[in-house]
Symmetry: C2
Subunit: 364 residues, 2 copies
């Protein structure tokens, strides 16, 4: 069953999703299944699915935890420097910093840096781009949380931006973060002293184009619009529409993060397209896992309101397919992603390989 092939009218949009297949999804929807009862059994089964897809990676010695820790620290330093504390207008900068430096796993920046590395560039070249994708991600969270949108009070275990700073400042902080992302990528001052962005301005222009495309009416915003249209409706949301939302709302920015890194790193067009496919698979994987975590974890473990999707009648993969099939789908996406890395240098591809496993296995 090709999920993205015979799509609803939205398929006419200019997003061309990489076809992903869910072989066993047909006729699967079983929202009545007792999720709590299946929890432990499914968790074991999911581990089995993922273990099969893993096929003993040859990079067992790669220290993923150290890699992620160092990247997150470097990205946090870049973000901290990009929005000066205390500068006027103070309320605006405070709100930007509050949203931007609230922690988070920095998965998108790590993908950007790792893709730069696998494409041949030193990772440092992509640091401004990595900071930029996190700014865009933060902007989308701040705007999506607004009272007129998803009306969320809690994010990463803390009150959301508009709760602390008020709605007008939250809207404006989002706008400022969005423009700062592009300013950051285009400014000489964002790059490390030993990196000359003017050496490859064509790469920067192309990367900026990719970043811009994944935000607007072909990306994050389109996903949010369709998501809002679906919320609170009593009619059943078809799987195709759910996938449209996730491909736009989540996968588009993950894809851009990887592709931008690859462009800045100097990858060939063929390499960039392979990494794009990798990114699309992990993009959808990210959301499927998110949906699974929402029904299997407590609010405390997630740092946000758990079960919210279920409570608010939001369509999710577990609700449409059942937890079982959702986990199988996740395993398939993981193996699709890792396949794309086969042609790259094993050592250089290790971070992207481990990032895919991390996204599949994360517990919050």
């Amino acid at each position: 069953m090709a999920l993205a092939s015979h799509f609803h009218p939205l398929a006419a949009s200019r997003v061309h999703p990489c076809p992903v297949h869910l072989h066993s999804a047909a006729g699967a929807p079983s929202p009545s299944v007792s999720l709590a009862a299946h929890h432990h059994r499914l968790r074991r089964r999911f581990s089995a699915v993922v273990a099969a897809a893993a096929a003993s990676p040859a990079t067992a010695e790669f220290d993923f935890k150290a890699y992620m820790g160092e990247r997150a620290a470097a990205v946090n330093r870049a973000l901290d420097a990009a929005v000066p504390a205390g500068d006027p207008p103070a309320a605006l900068h405070d709100a930007m910093r509050y949203a931007l430096l609230a922690g988070g796993k920095r998965v998108r920046p790590a993908l950007c840096l790792a893709a730069c590395g696998v494409a041949g560039g030193p990772e440092a070249w992509a640091m401004p781009a990595a900071a930029a994708v996190e700014m865009v991600h933060t902007m989308s969270l701040v705007h999506d949380d607004l009272p007129c949108m998803d009306d969320d009070d809690l994010r990463r275990g803390k009150p959301t931006c508009h709760v602390v700073y008020g709605e007008p400042i939250a809207v404006l902080a989002g706008d400022a973060l969005l423009s700062l992302a592009f300013h950051h990528m285009a400014s000489v001052g964002s790059y490390p002293p030993d990196v000359d962005p003017h050496k490859h301005p064509a790469r920067v222009v192309r990367a900026i184009g990719e970043l811009a495309r994944c935000i607007g009416s072909e990306g994050l915003v389109a996903g949010q619009v369709v998501d809002l249209e679906m919320t609170g409706t009593s009619e059943a949301v078809p799987l195709e529409r759910l996938e449209y939302i996730h491909l736009h709302k989540t996968a588009a920015l993950l894809e851009a993060s990887v592709v931008i890194g690859a462009i800045i790193g100097g990858g060939t067009d063929e390499q960039i397209e392979r990494l794009r496919k990798y990114a699309r698979s992990i993009g959808l994987l990210f959301q499927v896992v998110d949906d699974i975590l929402d029904v299997t974890k407590s609010s405390e473990e997630l740092g946000k309101t758990a079960g919210k999707d279920l409570a608010s009648d939001k369509t999710t993969y577990p609700k449409l397919l059942g937890l079982d099939k959702s986990r199988e789908f996740a395993g398939k996406l993981l193996s699709d992603a890792t396949e794309q890395l086969a042609g790259f240098d094993k050592e250089k591809a290790a971070p992207l390989l481990h990032l895919a496993y991390y996204i599949a296995h994360r517990q919050n």
Copy 2:
């Protein structure tokens, strides 16, 4: 009296306004002056001020009306093509088009194109940038009009975006327009067939940096934040703070429009900085004239709610200085702007010269 020199704390921000002088403003504030009674007399006087500054331009034969009409038509075509009608998500694209194609004088795009021309490039090079500045301008209008901001129901004589499409779509349409601006500037497809943007990618990167800077916490957004802080307070707003708001909320994007055009056109650093000074003067001029029109024109003539600034207790130049001194200030800004054009080829500088006069003399 130097308005921008001994500024309030906000002067510590990274915006460095070009100093403009208002020689006769000291002790002028006379909010109690009967505005209606002075209307006709002041209108005549303003014409006199502007005539003095004009000093008979040598480009009398330049057909400004035809120039503006052709530029506006070309920009409208570019904007129309940039947001496809009917493409899904339809509500989003409809809202973007509604806001973007609502008419308007296209002053910013015209400044961008004219600056490209005076800096040496064919104007066509700057068409994507010209469309981009209008997208950014439209985004700022859509977000500023939101119920949680200025809560405006009428814009250019039509209901505002959120009135027609709802608040969530208005927020998202603004976000999409903002990202589209950068996408448009970075995409090969935006440029005319005979223009190769890859020939000068370094110019495109620099121009994108300028555009991004003028939006966020150093530009439009900063101005709106301080403007919101001032609205509804009973304390008197000092002239310095009023100028901060206008330099950020209005002048920053006018400055970027001119500077981006000059960069794309291949101007030297010295030319770009002279054009930046020109732009800063007309930027403030634009807002002073806006304030004057608000108290001297009817809603019908303006296409928006007239007298709103006065009614909402918003600080304006006429309220702080009186209409008289506001008009004098406008005349001084006009002559400051035109002085910067002296070193350029007269024929090529004609559009920018006439644009300055147009901004000073416009009636809506």
